[in-house]
Symmetry: C2
Subunit: 148 residues, 2 copies
DNA sequence: CTTGACCTTAGATTAAACTCCAAGGTTTAT
DNA sequence: ATAAACCTTGGAGTTTAATCTAAGGTCAAG
């Protein structure tokens, strides 16, 4: 049996995080000591590791709650259900990825167009792109024009 | 002069959003009518478009506040300052992108390993990967073994 | 027998960007 | 003159995943 601080240290999380997981139904200590301290079993430890692994692949705590309820009652769920969760997460991740790629391209273009020098920003092509219509944000025409 | 609902409609945002921007110092109406209605000028409209464009390239409202303060006082800032903001945003976006690519790879591998069929999840390779050590989450070995 | 490290609870706070609500005043059209 | 559509304010709620605080109880060592 581990006390909260022990389990936390084993898994590199804080005791607060474990209390938070308990409050949100992800992981409750299997027992309490006479004085009310949480006592965690090896099974609790495994459950925590499941949670942390699911986090490393991008699931939110709510999604992990669903995964855990399947995990505890596997025979009443189909592979299709589990794969469905993974695939819908994958779709979410890919949507976010597409957005970030758009950001990345726009920012890279803005960055390239700007001289980045100590000259006044009065003719900064980044600011000019943000001032003009949004097509221009994605296709900066001219570098900063600093009169010599 | 536009009333809040007019400007909102022009820029495809909600009046609430404009009030929110005002409260957070991004955009205040230049005037008020006798009865207290917000009245926005063409300059306000341009400022709003600046904000919305900056959002499309990934800046947060706090970052946009910085950009706006430079925009209003260009001559006291250098291109280097502006490019610095863009480059640091770009670095953030790329870091997040790298994380999402890791998620995407792990999820795609999990998805591939699972048969996705109507069989019981008792031998689901996704759940098995989450139960075992994290190295395995990133390299699922076996497809779901459903005994025939 | 007291110090320090640990544990308990409930509740507040953080970041981000809105969105919604209530209770009321204004404008416009019929 | 009244209904519909619009506006005002302040404040609460949403989402995510903790993190922090206060006020206090417990345990092991010296």
């Amino acid at each position: 049996m581990y006390r909260i601080g022990e389990l936390a240290q084993l898994c590199d999380v804080k005791p607060d995080t474990l209390r938070f997981y308990e409050k949100h139904g992800l992981l409750a200590a299997s027992a309490r000591s006479d004085s009310g301290y949480r006592l965690y079993t090896t099974a609790d430890f495994e459950r925590l590791k499941f949670i942390l692994r699911a986090k490393t692949v991008g699931f939110t705590l709510n999604e992990i709650t669903e995964l855990l309820s399947i995990e505890l009652d596997k025979s009443n769920w189909a592979c299709a259900d589990v794969k469905g969760l993974v695939d819908s997460k994958l779709a979410q991740v890919e949507a976010k990825l597409a957005e970030l790629v758009r950001f990345q391209k726009s920012l890279a273009q803005l960055s390239q167009a700007c001289c980045g020098g100590p000259e006044s920003a009065e003719h900064c092509s980044i600011l000019e792109a943000l001032e003009s219509n949004s097509a221009t944000v994605n296709a900066v025409k001219e570098p900063c024009r600093h009169s010599k």
